[in-house]
């Protein structure tokens, strides 16, 4: 059965509103499949523990495309298929390592709501935090469907 489709409408959101938090476990499988299977990134620091340690890292760590994809998905899953991600900016801070029990908590807050060229837009502050601190901190712009 197809999952229930939920759309968030522009009229129903307000500045200052927090999106519900979502968390993903950060383990070796997610890091390796994110790099190779999802984003075709064969840089060995994202799949070879030996290579990563030789380069001075304690372990393999998540590639940027996967971090970006997780954050984009978090926003799009909340907004529903009628919404459109227009822009996303991420500042990269501590890496996502597959340490025991590590997870990334994803959060977002609506910071602006406006209309432009027929689009009903919102801007959000976004963040993904792991057991070491902030992994990504940034912002995004989305177009939401309007009730009309």
């Amino acid at each position: 059965m197809a999952p229930e489709i939920n759309n968030v409408y522009w009229e129903d959101v307000e500045v200052g509103q927090d999106l519900p938090q979502k968390s993903r476990d950060i383990d070796t499988t997610l890091i390796v499949s994110g790099a190779i299977w999802a984003s075709h990134d064969f840089m060995p620091v994202h799949h070879s523990r030996d290579f990563a340690q030789e380069k001075g890292a304690p372990d393999i760590f998540m590639n940027i495309l996967t971090s970006n994809g997780l954050m984009a998905s978090y926003l799009e899953q909340w907004a529903g298929p009628e919404a459109e991600l227009k822009r996303m900016q991420v500042g990269l801070q501590v890496p996502n390592f597959p340490t025991e029990g590590n997870k990334m908590d994803m959060n977002a807050r609506i910071t602006r709501k406006y209309e432009e060229a027929g689009n009903h837009l919102i801007e959000l502050e976004i963040s993904g935090d792991n057991n070491l601190g902030p992994h990504v901190v940034g912002s995004a712009t989305m177009a939401l469907p309007a009730k009309g």
Binding site: L30, S39, P81, L92
Partner: protein, 202 residues
């Protein structure tokens, strides 16, 4: 006092070498040609991505829903855009393991070679911004070029060490030359901190 000065002197090496900006200035503003991808966009690429991201957006994987949508067919998640322009396994291992990178003549690769040779051989990505301009669909050919947008003129003292920020811009176009995404990317090229372990040996 004189003795102290002698001690300090005995530990001071040659002055720290720093990158002369004029060595890289000619590359700022320069772009690579558009490079062809190894593969076209496919539904399976998209499904693999959605599986990892746990993304159940029906526009990406549900044919029936997508056909009735404003797009008329399945589209790719916009943040997936760079997937089709990365090195394949062979080129990636050549680049990262054997230091034999493809597209040596591209301005950004020339720039990184110069900066590396000046001792700034550490690298860390610090920020990325992407503007999604047009949807990507199965069957599309996504080509990309890289432009060197900016290089810091002077050294920055960062947590990683002394370094220079390099800003590059990616332009992604499809087979109809329509721009699908523009992205800016900032990396810090830094001098790995001096290895001081030998000072404590013996």
């Amino acid at each position: 006092m004189g003795k102290d000065n002698d001690m300090i002197k005995s530990y001071s090496g040659p002055p720290e070498k720093t990158l002369d900006y004029s060595k890289v200035a000619h590359l700022v503003g320069q772009s690579s040609p558009f490079h062809e991808p190894h593969d076209i966009v496919t539904k399976s690429d998209i499904r693999h991505w959605c599986e990892v991201m746990q993304d159940s957006n029906p526009l990406y994987t549900d044919e029936e829903y997508a056909q009735d949508s404003r797009y008329g067919s399945i589209i790719a998640p916009p943040s997936m855009v760079q997937t089709w322009s990365l090195d394949d396994m062979h080129d990636a291992l050549q680049r990262f393991v054997h230091a034999n990178q493809p597209f040596k003549e591209d301005p950004h690769n020339q720039l990184f070679d110069i900066i590396d040779s000046e001792g700034y051989n550490g690298v860390v990505a610090t920020a990325q911004e992407q503007w999604y301009l047009k949807s990507i669909r199965p069957g599309d050919t996504i080509r990309s070029k890289i432009t060197v947008a900016n290089v810091s003129k002077y050294d920055h003292h960062t947590r990683q060490g002394v370094g220079r920020y390099v800003d590059i811009v990616f332009t992604f176009i499809n087979q109809r030359d329509e721009e699908v995404c523009k992205a800016s990317f900032r990396v810090l090229k830094y001098k790995p901190p001096m290895d001081t372990r030998h000072l404590y040996e013996g």
